[in-house]
C-alpha cells in the first residue's frame, strides 16, 4: 500500500528539485489565454463610468444620449438619484457596445449631475482625521509609563507607510456568455471554486449552472477574491442581451477601485537596557483603507513577548477606494513600524543591529529558526565586513548601509478536494478546482501526482481553473500549496492503491508490499519483482481508476503545517545630496517546510523582493485633496520597480532536516513582509537619520536629512 506521508529525502525524484513551471512555454509565447484574451463570437464590450469625485451626491444620471450612438447595445445607471459617491472611481453607470473603442467613447455621452462635497482625504494627521476607535490594549498603563521613563535607552519616533494599490498586471474583469440556459464565465480570479456563487443573482440562475474557467492569471495579490460589482454587471448584461460580454477594467479604474493596501502610521515609544535588551513598547497607530477604515496594526511585530506593551489603534476613514487584502494583510506595515523602531532603539543604545535582534529573539515565537536564518543572511550579505554604526562616515555624498528585518506567517493549507485518474494506457490526470495566480500551483500539483505515481512530470495532465473540478479553496493567505498538495497526494495515493490491487496478484504479493518508483511498480525490498508502469496499467482492463483526495487527508495524515520565519537584509547606498536610494544587494532567507518545487519557491521570493523594493522605494497612491481623485492612476507616476532598480537579489531557502519533515507550508505572503523594514533600516544605517515613512523617495529622504542636520 502506498502511504500518504511524504517520501523521505532518498525517495524523492521530483519534490524539492528545481523544476521549471509547466506553463512557462505557453506564457512566454503568448499562447496562454488570459481573461482579456478570450474572444467569443458576436462578443460585445462593456465599460464602466466612474465618479470623478471623492464625495458627492448623484443628482441625476441620463443614459439616453449614449444609447442613441451607433454601435451602443445598451447603457444602464448603476446608482440611483440621491445616492452617495464615497470615493472617486465608484461605478455610476455601465455601457456595452460592439467595439471597445465605441464603448469607451460612448461613456462620455452619459450625463451625470453631481452635487459635489468635500472629501475626507487626510490619513496622515491623526488629530485632523475622521477616526473610529479600535480596541486598545493597555494591560498596565502605569507600568508601561514607569518602565519607559526609567529605561536606560529610549526612543520616540514616527513611522509609516503610504497607501498603495495592488496594480495587477492583468486588470480585474471577465468575459460572460449565456447560452443553452447556462452561464459561461472566464474571469481573472483567485477564487475559481466559489466565484459562481457571487454571480447567481446577476445571472438569475443557481451557481450550479454557472461555469467558471480561469486557466491563467496576471496577478491578484489578494484583490481578486470577490466576483465584484463589475463581474455582476458583465454577467447581467450577458443575460439581458444574450451576447457574450467582455468587461475588463481600464488601468486608471483598476488602480483607483480594484485594489488598495491601507496606509499605516504610528507614534512609538520604546525602551531598552543599555546593552540592548528591550523593556517596553508603547504605540499609537492609525491608518486608512478607505471608507471602511482599516484594521489595527499588529505591533510590536514578531517581538510580541516584550514584557510591557501598550497598543492604541485608530481606524481612519477616507474617501478612497476600499482596501482589499494585500499580500500578507497588515504585516508589511506592522513589520516596518516595529523593525524601524527597534533598529532606532539599537542605534540609540549603540548596539550593533544584528547583535540587538539576536539578543531579543526570545521575545519571538521561533527564536531558533530566526537565529539560524540571521546567521545565513549575515554570511550571504557579508555583514561582518560591511556593518558599521549608524551613519556611514565615509567622505562624499554616497553613504552605504545595512538593514535587517524579520517576519512570520502561518501558511497552513486550505480546504481542498482533488481527483487523480489513472488510465489503462498508463496516462494520468488530476482534476482540482484551484487556480494558478502565476505562483506555480499548476506545476506543484503535477509534481505531487508524478512523484506519487513514480512518473515523469510530463506524463501527468494537470486540470485546474474550472469550477466543475473538485472544489478547492481560494488562493489567499498562502494556503494554496498546503491545501492542493495534500488533497492531490491523498487522491494520487488512493488511485495508486487501486492500481496496486490489480497488480499485486500478477506479481504474487499483497498490495501492501508494492511501491511505484521511477516508471515501474515493484515489490518493496525485491527489485527483481517489478512491472513497468504501462504494463501495470493495462491490467485495469478498459476502466480507468480514480482516486479521491482531500485536505484534510482522508486518513488524517498531516501533510502541511503552519508557521514560518524569514529574515531579510538589505545593502543600500544613499546619495545624501539627492536623497536617491540604490539597492546594492538584497538577501532573503526563508523557511516554508517541505518545498515541492524549489524553483517556483525561489521565484516566489524573488517576486516578493521586487514587489518589496517597489513599495519601499517608489510606490504610492497619490490623491488630490480637493477633488479626491487619484492623481497617479497610471503606470507612469504609479511607479513600479524595474530591473535597473532591484540590485542583486539573493535567495536562500531553508531545507533539509528540521524543515522538510514539517510538511508543506505556504510561501506567498512571508517574503513580501520584510522588504520595507529592511530597506528603511539600511537607509537609516547609511545616512544616519531615520526616514520616517515609505516609500523612500528623494523628497522624503532629503526632508529627513534636513531635519536631522545631515543634508549635504
Amino acid at each position: 500500500m502506498a502511504k500518504n506521508a511524504w517520501p523521505s529525502a532518498d525517495k524523492r525524484s521530483l519534490i524539492g528539485k528545481r523544476i521549471s513551471r509547466l506553463d512557462g512555454p505557453v506564457k512566454s509565447t503568448g499562447r496562454a489565454k488570459y481573461a482579456y484574451d478570450i474572444s467569443r463570437p458576436g462578443m460585445i464590450y462593456a465599460r464602466l463610468l466612474w465618479a470623478p469625485y471623492g464625495s458627492a451626491k448623484v443628482v441625476s444620471i441620463d443614459t439616453s444620449a449614449a444609447t442613441q450612438i451607433k454601435g451602443v447595445v445598451g447603457a444602464w445607471p448603476e446608482m440611483k438619484d440621491g445616492d452617495e459617491v464615497r470615493f472617486a472611481g465608484q461605478v455610476v453607470a455601465s455601457l456595452a457596445a460592439t467595439s471597445e473603442e465605441i464603448a469607451h467613447e460612448a461613456l462620455k455621452s452619459i450625463k451625470v449631475v453631481y452635487e459635489v462635497q468635500t472629501p475626507q482625504m487626510n490619513d496622515v494627521l491623526l488629530e485632523k482625521a475622521e477616526t473610529k476607535e479600535q480596541r486598545d490594549e493597555i494591560p498596565d498603563a502605569a507600568t508601561v509609563d514607569k518602565t519607559f521613563n526609567e529605561a536606560e535607552v529610549k526612543i520616540e519616533g514616527h513611522y509609516g507607510a503610504a497607501a498603495i494599490t495592488h496594480c495587477c498586471m492583468e486588470a480585474h474583469g471577465q468575459v460572460a456568455e449565456y447560452r443553452d440556459n447556462a452561464m459561461y464565465i472566464w474571469p481573472s480570479t483567485q477564487n475559481v471554486s466559489a466565484y459562481a456563487a457571487g454571480l447567481a443573482d446577476a445571472a438569475g440562475m443557481p451557481a450550479s449552472q454557472i461555469h467558471v474557467d480561469c486557466q491563467y492569471m496576471g496577478g491578484g495579490f489578494g484583490s481578486k477574491f470577490d466576483s465584484d460589482q463589475w463581474g455582476a454587471i458583465c454577467t447581467r448584461i450577458a443575460k439581458e442581451t444574450g451576447k457574450p460580454v467582455k468587461l475588463m477594467l481600464e488601468r486608471d479604474h483598476e488602480l483607483m477601485a480594484a485594489g488598495a493596501r491601507p496606509s499605516a502610521f504610528a507614534n512609538v515609544r520604546a525602551g531598552a537596557s543599555k546593552d540592548g535588551r528591550i523593556t517596553v513598547w508603547d504605540s499609537t497607530a492609525w491608518g486608512s483603507g478607505g471608507m471602511g477604515g482599516s484594521r489595527a496594526l499588529g505591533v510590536p511585530y514578531i517581538f510580541g513577548n516584550i514584557p510591557n506593551i501598550r497598543r492604541v489603534s485608530r481606524s481612519v476613514r477616507t474617501n478612497r477606494g476600499s482596501q482589499r487584502p494585500w499580500r500578507a494583510p497588515g504585516h508589511p506595515q506592522s513589520c516596518l513600524v516595529t523593525m524601524a523602531a527597534l533598529e532606532d532603539l539599537a542605534a540609540a543604545a549603540g548596539v550593533d543591529s544584528l547583535e540587538f535582534f539576536l539578543k531579543n529573539l526570545d521575545y519571538t515565537e521561533r527564536p531558533d529558526v530566526y537565529r539560524e536564518e540571521l546567521r545565513i543572511a549575515a554570511d550571504l550579505i557579508g555583514y561582518k565586513d560591511k556593518a558599521h554604526p549608524r551613519g556611514d562616515s565615509t567622505p562624499g555624498p554616497l553613504k552605504r548601509g545595512l538593514g535587517i528585518s524579520l517576519h512570520t506567517w502561518g501558511g497552513a493549507g486550505h480546504k481542498s478536494e482533488s481527483t487523480v485518474t489513472i488510465n489503462p494506457d498508463g496516462s494520468a490526470s488530476v482534476n482540482i478546482g484551484t487556480q494558478d495566480l502565476g505562483s506555480g500551483t499548476r506545476t506543484v500539483v503535477g509534481i505531487v501526482v508524478a512523484e506519487t505515481l513514480g512518473l515523469p512530470l510530463e506524463n501527468v495532465q494537470v486540470n485546474i481553473g474550472r469550477n466543475e473540478y473538485p472544489a478547492s479553496g481560494a488562493s489567499g493567505g498562502s494556503t494554496t500549496v498546503g491545501g492542493v498538495s495534500t488533497s492531490t497526494r491523498d487522491a494520487a495515493t488512493a488511485a495508486l492503491n487501486a492500481l496496486f490491487e490489480k497488480v499485486a496478484p500478477a506479481l504474487g504479493v499483497g498490495a501492501d508490499q508494492l511501491e511505484a518508483w521511477q516508471g515501474s511498480i515493484h515489490v518493496v525490498g525485491d527489485a527483481s519483482k517489478s512491472m513497468p508502469w504501462v504494463k501495470a496499467c493495462s491490467l485495469l482492463g478498459q476502466i480507468p481508476v480514480t482516486g479521491k483526495g482531500s485536505k484534510p487527508a482522508s486518513d488524517g495524515t498531516q501533510l502541511d503545517n503552519s508557521g514560518v520565519g524569514g529574515v531579510q537584509m538589505a545593502d543600500v547606498t544613499v546619495d545624501i545630496e539627492t536623497g536617491r536610494v540604490t539597492i546594492n544587494e538584497f538577501v532573503a532567507v526563508q523557511d516554508c517546510g517541505l518545498i515541492v518545487d524549489l524553483k517556483t519557491a525561489e521565484s516566489q521570493v524573488y517576486g516578493a523582493m521586487i514587489m518589496g523594493v517597489t513599495y519601499a522605494l517608489y510606490e504610492e497612491s497619490i490623491y488630490d485633496p480637493v477633488t479626491g481623485r487619484m492623481l497617479n492612476a497610471d503606470m507612469e507616476f504609479y511607479k513600479l520597480a524595474g530591473l535597473a532598480d532591484v540590485g542583486t537579489l539573493k535567495v536562500h531557502m531553508m531545507t533539509g532536516p528540521g524543515y522538510d519533515e514539517r510538511g508543506v507550508i505556504g510561501l506567498g505572503e512571508p517574503p513580501v513582509i520584510s522588504p520595507g523594514a529592511a530597506i528603511s533600516n539600511a537607509v537609516a544605517n547609511a545616512c544616519g537619520v531615520r526616514v520616517p515613512t515609505i516609500p523612500l523617495t528623494p523628497n522624503r529622504v532629503l526632508a529627513a536629512l534636513e531635519q536631522g542636520g545631515k543634508l549635504a
Binding site: T578, G579, F637, A644, P698
Partner: protein
Amino acid sequence: MNAFEYAQPATLDEAQALLTSASGPVAVLAGGTDLLTAMKQGIVNPARVVSLKSIEELRGIEVSSDAVRIGAMTTLSELAAHPDVARLYPCLVTAIKGIGSPQIANMGTVGGDLCQHPRCWYYRNGFGLFGMNNGASLVLEGDNRYHAIFGNDGPAKFVNVSSLAPGLIALDATFNVRGADKQMRDIPAADFFKTPSAPEESLTSLAAGEVLTHITIPAAQTRNATYEVRERHGLDWPLVTASVAYTDAGGSAQNVRVVLGHVAPTPWVVDAAAKTLEGKAIDEAAAAACGTSAVADAKPLSMNGYKVQLAKVAVKRALLAAAG
C-alpha cells in the same frame, strides 16, 4: 479618442497645406509617443492628424565643419548613436539615455521631444493645462511635488519635460522653422519655448501651419554634460535635469551656459549663475557655488522644495561631469 482624419504626406508642402486647410484642430504626428497618449486621454482632440513620417527631408543628420544639422524627424536613438553627436554633444546623449526606454527612444523624434505636452497630472486628468477647478488652482492646493520651482508666478505651474531642450539651449542651437508661406526662419533654442498665460496659448513660438524642420548646433568643440535626478533608475521622468556647456580656454571656462530642465514651464536658463564661472577653472567649489547661485531665485510650491536642492546638485554635478 475621437474619430479623426489621418494624412501621411510625402512632402513638406503637402503637409503644411494639410495643416492650414483643416476646418478643425490639427495635430502633427511625429513618433507618437506623446500624441497618441494625449489623444487617448482626451486632452488633445484633433479633427485631422498629419503624420510627418514619410517626409524624407526631415530625417537624418548632416555634419559640416561649422555645424551639425539634425532633421526634426530623426529618432532619439539615431541621434544618440551618431558618432559626431556622441563626440561633440555628450549632454544630448546622456539626456536620451536618461529616458530609460529603448522603445521610446526608437519611436520618439527630436522634434516630438521638443514639442511635448506637459505631464502635469492635473492636466492629464482632465483639469486643463493649468489644473483649475472652480477657478482655483488644484496645483497650488493639491499635490505639486513634481511641479515648477521657477517661472511659476502665472497660472502655468507645470514643467517642460523635453529631454533635449536644456542641452540644445546650452549648446546655442538654432531651431529651423518653415512657415506656411514656405519661408524658413531661425529661432534661437531658448526663444522657442513659451510660458502660456492662458490655456489656449501655445507652448512654443511656432505659428499656425509652421513646422519645425531642423535643429542646427554649432560644431565648435565645447565641454558639455547633462546630469539628471530620477526617482527610479529605469524608465522614469527626471525630477530635475541640468545641462551645461562651456568652452575650455586653457583650463578656464568661457561662454558658460547652464540650463535646468523639469523645473519650470520652459527650460530654465540660469545665465547669472553661469556668469559666475566665466574665466574660472571648473572645480568642486566653483561648481557648487554655481549650483547655489542657480537656485537663488527658486520659488518652490508647498510640496516641491526638495527640487531646489536637486537643481543645485544637478548643476554642480553636470559642471563637474563636463569638466571631466
